[in-house]
Symmetry: C2
């Protein structure tokens, strides 16, 4: 593909900036982040002005009320962005950390050391706060970043970027370390996705369609955050009160997010003891229950479940429920239909817990806790740029440490190979 000069210039200057990021004094990073935060607040009026033009265009284009709300910036939201950057500044530097170190019989000291990945391309949809969040996380991990936001928020994103650069520049933010693609042209994106020599990793943040399209076009590795079809399995040895609490929390506490439960599996031995009660608790919260025949016998308001339901991420107050004959059947169900995000067993039997933990191939496997904890902040990592459902490089919450890779630094005293 012939690269347009705009795209080529962005990608090549990002690669050059990644070298300056690697050479940047680590002690300079946190003051730069704080200065970027201050600049966001100082330039709030300018940012809001740009945002209002985006909002006006969005209204003309007929964006939904929900989309307009996601797009909207006010003083408070800008302050939240600034505080987000200040929180990132407080996190420990993930770069330069020696992950492992050992000495060989010939005296070579091998240090496996955390280093930046290089150049990241972050692709997102309408929320303009991602511009500041992603810039902060990539900068703290010493990566250069190319940001590509949604077309409807282009002016807002540009105003935010201008503030970040104005704040960070005087303190040493390397030129082009944070760039924004100044067009929403799809071809420009596809050109970037074909430049593995300049870009090391692509992180799409958004719906399934966006991620799928990026993955299909990319010649660069993509860190994917697909569906969360999360399960809670209530074992025959479960504490039933705990199981009810966990199931209600996993489904209802915030149903629209990826770590909410979508399917409940119940061991047949305890189904009659728990399902009538638990069903009522869920119905009281407004949950629509879709169950197999055995479930419907125990929860009369349940409607029939279809094969399609088992694969569905509802992101809503809907739950599919199945009675299973044993632990193995629960494991098979999760491995067949799940999305390898977050899955829970509730059990007091350590052997059952052990088998579940080993067999379930998900980014996070829980014993006796709600699936809702799969989250960078809940894990204690600080802010996250997403949650990976991929198998490689990073699984689960992706914070600043997951935005690094490693290299081996080998210290010798003149060793040669015999």
């Amino acid at each position: 593909m012939e690269q347009s000069s705009l795209v080529l210039s962005i990608a090549q200057s990002a690669r050059r900036a990644s070298r300056r990021m690697a050479a940047l004094d680590p002690k300079a990073k946190d003051p730069i982040l704080n200065a970027m935060a201050d600049a966001l607040e100082l330039q709030a009026a300018t940012i809001i002005q740009a945002n209002q033009r985006d909002l006006a265009d969005g209204q003309t284009a007929g964006l939904s009320k929900a989309m307009l709300d996601r797009l909207m910036l006010n003083e408070q939201r800008i302050q939240a962005m600034a505080n987000g950057l200040r929180e990132i500044a407080l996190l420990p530097d993930p770069v330069g950390h020696v992950l492992e170190s050992w000495t060989r019989p010939n005296g070579l000291v091998i240090n496996k050391t955390a280093v930046p990945i290089g150049v990241l391309l972050v692709i997102y949809e309408s929320r303009p706060n991602v511009t500041a969040d992603a810039a902060g996380l990539c900068f703290k991990s010493s990566n250069a970043v190319i940001l590509r936001g949604g077309s409807e928020s282009l002016r807002s994103n540009q105003a935010i970027l201008n503030a970040l650069v104005a704040g960070g520049g005087p303190l040493g933010l390397p030129e082009h370390a944070i760039q924004l693609v100044p067009t929403s042209d799809r071809n420009a994106l596809y050109e970037l996705l074909a430049m593995p020599d300049c870009i090391d990793l692509v992180i799409p943040r958004g719906g399934h369609g966006l991620i799928r399209a990026v993955a299909e076009h990319s010649k660069i590795p993509v860190l994917k955050h697909y569906n969360g079809v999360c399960h809670v399995y209530v074992d025959e040895a479960a504490d039933l009160e705990m199981a009810k609490r966990i199931a209600v929390n996993a489904k209802c506490q915030r149903p629209g997010v990826c770590n909410a439960m979508e399917t409940l599996l119940v061991h047949e031995a305890i189904a009659p003891d728990i399902l009538p009660d638990l069903g009522q608790l869920l119905l009281n919260q407004g949950v629509e229950i879709r169950g197999d025949e055995r479930v419907r016998k125990l929860i009369s308001q349940a409607v029939p479940v279809t094969e399609e339901d088992w694969r569905t991420e509802y992101l809503d107050l809907i739950l599919s429920v199945r009675v299973v004959p044993n632990l193995d059947a629960a494991i098979d169900h999760i491995e067949d239909y799940g999305s390898h995000h977050s899955d829970v067993i509730v059990t007091s039997n350590p052997n059952a817990a052990e088998r579940f933990k080993r067999a379930i191939d998900s980014s996070t496997v829980y014993v006796n806790a709600s699936s809702r904890f799969t989250d960078g902040a809940e894990f204690g990592m600080g802010a996250e740029i997403g949650i990976s459902t991929d198998k490689l490089h990073a699984r689960g919450p992706v914070g600043i440490r997951e935005l690094t890779t490693y290299k081996y630094i080998v210290e010798g005293t003149g060793q040669i190979r015999g």
Copy 2:
């Protein structure tokens, strides 16, 4: 793409086998590896018979002597394969290892735990011993593997696979945990590369053309092992005797491998002190020296170097040499022309070493040692399946630990999110 039933059956049975691998008793793995080794020795005659048919066809097809030698198996080479498996059996199990563990204020215990990647597809060229080596490494790391060897060694590979399965099966080697694609049809390979639901990682072992073709066709992540354009930079503060020893070793000890030096960079301040001598040492070893003008003034036998040379992996007794004005110029040269494999600084100045270590973005960066140590065995990892020049998941030598990924196992006592 419409999958042929053969390919679909291989890929789906590998996925099922990966679940059985995850459930396999870890204590069963080493006895299975030893039984596979014994079976190779027991079935040596059968394997050699199959190999002789491959060799006869290879001769008819006009394979070069070097290729026929790579293809050839005898008792000794089969014993080496068997011993390779026994050595893998002695390595510590990389699976189940808790990489990190921490407790959250709410009492949740988060264990970041090493787990198998799942299903690996290993693609290789003519050497049939890779069949046993790759099978052993993938099995030890609890992955299911699909092996796809070269067309010229198909019968040898099949005979080796038969022995492995005959040896491991009775001790619990899961069915289809090790499979061989029984055809050298390129379309079958391309079909496999389009099945990310069944295969998690592709590892091509072979020349640049093979890796490039695999990377271009694959919808699955590929762990790439591209060129080794490795550099030795002799700083102005170098111990010159050490520098000569390292340069000669890095170039001459085994010039045909990826961690051999291809370009020597010398600081201008010490070039007159070291180049005449070092040039003579290299010429004595039969090295052809290609140098810039300043090099040719100091080494009269040197021939002119071209821009193309700086990017070339000679894999031969040829060396490009450049005099650079300072450390920064050396860093820029390596970052502009290198392949991010292994690069060396020889210096007694800790500040220069520090800047080089931080700026050089290669899988392995050496201070005062030969580049020839980038190797699984030399690093103390045991056997390696390759050396990654990629940025993500694994860099440098890829041993059994690099054939694992991680998941979070979270232990609770009924925690729900507030």
